[in-house]
Symmetry: C2
């Protein structure tokens, strides 16, 4: 199996990115986005103003995507925020891990001093464990902030680490 | 002294709203916004998509403004978010309190089940105490998430209450 590489996304990746976003948005179990979000709106969100978007690919096949941005402006502009999605049929292959490593390096290179995730659905244990392995700490827990389509109300976590 | 009333903002309030926003944004001590934000950008932010904006006025003079919006979409759309600003020369007159009462009622009327503040600068003790009086709890604390122009790095609080 060849190595996974992470590179900047281009317009030519839109279809591949959408194929990753769509099933995750429709499932509605990990992102606070409308489950019926259109392709146009989903790509406009993912590639929104101030978002730097990357894709993870192996043998030319895009298996994951993430964006990095400043979490806030002004006095909060030194904290990065990222969101990651891995193609459902590529989970467990280290794609998210690879993207996380890349994003931490990218955040440092851009001069960010910390990284924060604002809304980690607590039932998304795979993600929580992965971020904890990367030394993110749970610094907040918002009770029942997320309506999970199968589990009902679940907490949302705020996770954070210095860079 | 006549009563403070809270009403929906209109385009005609833009100048009054900007006069409240500007000194607070320039001071840079309580909002994570660029301190040199233009009038256009500040009003576009305050009156952004999905924001319902209100003003508090007494004798026809606007002394405060707030917006309410859904904090997230999809599975997070049941949580409201608000931001409040009081004219610096009108602090201590119960304007923020009046707006908070109004916003909680408005949030309930719109069917929100909780309200969350994502970024309360910890050094803004007046605000923290007021929200606590309104039964908001500190559910998160992000270390040094805010560069305060006088105090340096200070924590940002996530505050929350059910409705």
């Amino acid at each position: 199996m060849n190595a996974v590489i992470v590179r900047a996304a281009t317009d030519a990746d839109d279809e591949a990115v959408w194929r990753i976003l769509q099933p995750i948005i429709v499932a509605g179990e990990s992102y606070a986005l409308p489950r019926d979000m259109s392709r146009t709106n989903a790509l406009a969100y993912w590639r929104g103003p101030g978002h730097e978007v990357f894709v993870a690919e192996r043998d030319g096949v895009v298996l994951g995507t993430y964006y990095i941005r400043a979490n806030s402006e002004g006095g909060g502009a030194h904290v990065a925020n990222c969101a990651y999605m891995t193609a459902p049929d590529a989970t467990g292959q280290g794609i998210a891990r690879k993207m996380c490593v890349h994003s931490l390096e990218r955040a440092k290179a851009r001069g960010f001093r910390a990284m924060q995730f604002n809304f980690v659905v607590a039932s998304n244990e795979r993600a929580v464990k992965l971020w904890q392995m990367f030394r993110f700490e749970i610094v907040g827990r918002v009770p029942e902030a997320f309506d999970h389509p199968k589990l009902g109300p679940v907490d949302a976590l705020v996770m954070y680490r210095k860079l």
